[in-house]
Amino acid sequence: MPSSARQRVGGESRQAVGRARTQQAPPSSVFIRLLSCVVEVASNCATVRRIVTALYRSAMNRASESAVVPTVHFAILADGQAGAGPTYRICGEGVTAGPFASAADAVVHLESMITMAAAVSLADHVLVHAGVVASPAGGIVIPGASGAGKSTLVAALCFSGFRYLSDELAVIDRESLALHPFVKPMCLKDGGWSALAAAYARPPAVLSGTRAEGEAVHFLLPPKVCEADGQTRIRYVLRPERQPGASARLVRSARAQTLMDLAQHSLNLPRHGPAGVDLLARVVEGAECYTLIYDDLACAVATIQNFTGA
């Protein structure tokens, strides 16, 4: 495995792996599957491989179920300096990053790179920046910009029994209009992490670290995940709107406005053009569209549970 893994690691990462081999243990690879995208993460550091394995546990299981040919390659390489702790560099897919002072911070950065590379490889689907969970009645798409509280709401819903599809990306099948699960680890910023802890008995983070811009983040694994090959019909589109002091309530939204929301948060609508707009129109026409106004996280979840019959 190690030698074949080294052959598959492409470009500059291959050279970096070669240099690292003379300094540290030979690199070994971890394989992650996000839908049709198989990501190889090579590393000469056992700690890094252990963290990545823990972070992508669900996606790891999927990759081991069948023969995989990675389409995306990254390497995290530990460089040991005499008298100092190791530093970590990332390379792959034409990008380098680092040095990072800790394996945790390197993997935090890698997680963003993996998400981005996987999204690029899934461009044949219509992609919307949104949280996604499944209720017994169907899928719930929660569109919103970064910082809108999507991930925190998704995490709270998952700890309340909803099944997890993604906290970042709604992957909409162009033929069936159904959702494919994009099972990346849930990522919460400090504010969301605290809010979740205040309302739920959440487990400890699988990984905590600091992004390059200095923001602390915490990663959690969801209790229940949708099947990898499953397709979930979009039943609801809920746009979250935090209002201090507001009672949690759902306000019906015009479908045309909801279409605009989804279009605004689409990562690749221009690629699909009018056909993509038509797809999103058919999605909203087949869904119930609401704005979720709330302040308290537990009340928001209870409102959604009552509404969806979960």
Binding site: R255, A256, L259, M260, L269, P274, V277, D278, A281
Partner: protein, 98 residues
């Protein structure tokens, strides 16, 4: 290049819907998609009506007359609506040149 020149010469004399803009009805509301600017627009009922009158054969006065024929008691408000909506269509690049 020709298409950019068309946009820059858009004016209110004989407003015409730009051919690159696609339309979709969603729940009775008109939604426009402009692939050049990568924007989606949802039009209210008045804006949708004004949009439909932008056929390159009617000037602003004619569009106004069509609307006031429908709503005779609201001429002043309609006049402002027509003027502002057409200006918005132009600023958003939704109209072609006359």
């Amino acid at each position: 290049m020709t298409e950019l020149k068309e946009e820059s010469r858009s004016d209110l004399s004989l407003p015409r819907r730009a051919h690159h803009v696609t339309e979709r009805i969603v729940d009775g509301e008109l939604v426009l998609y402009d692939p050049r600017r990568r924007r989606v627009h949802a039009l209210n009922a008045t804006a949708a009506f004004i949009w439909q009158t932008c056929d390159g054969e009617r000037d602003q006065a004619s569009i106004l007359a069509t609307l006031t024929g429908r709503y005779p008691d609201s001429r002043e408000a309609i006049e402002a609506d027509v003027r502002e909506t057409l200006a918005l269509f132009i600023s958003e690049g939704l109209l072609a040149s006359a």
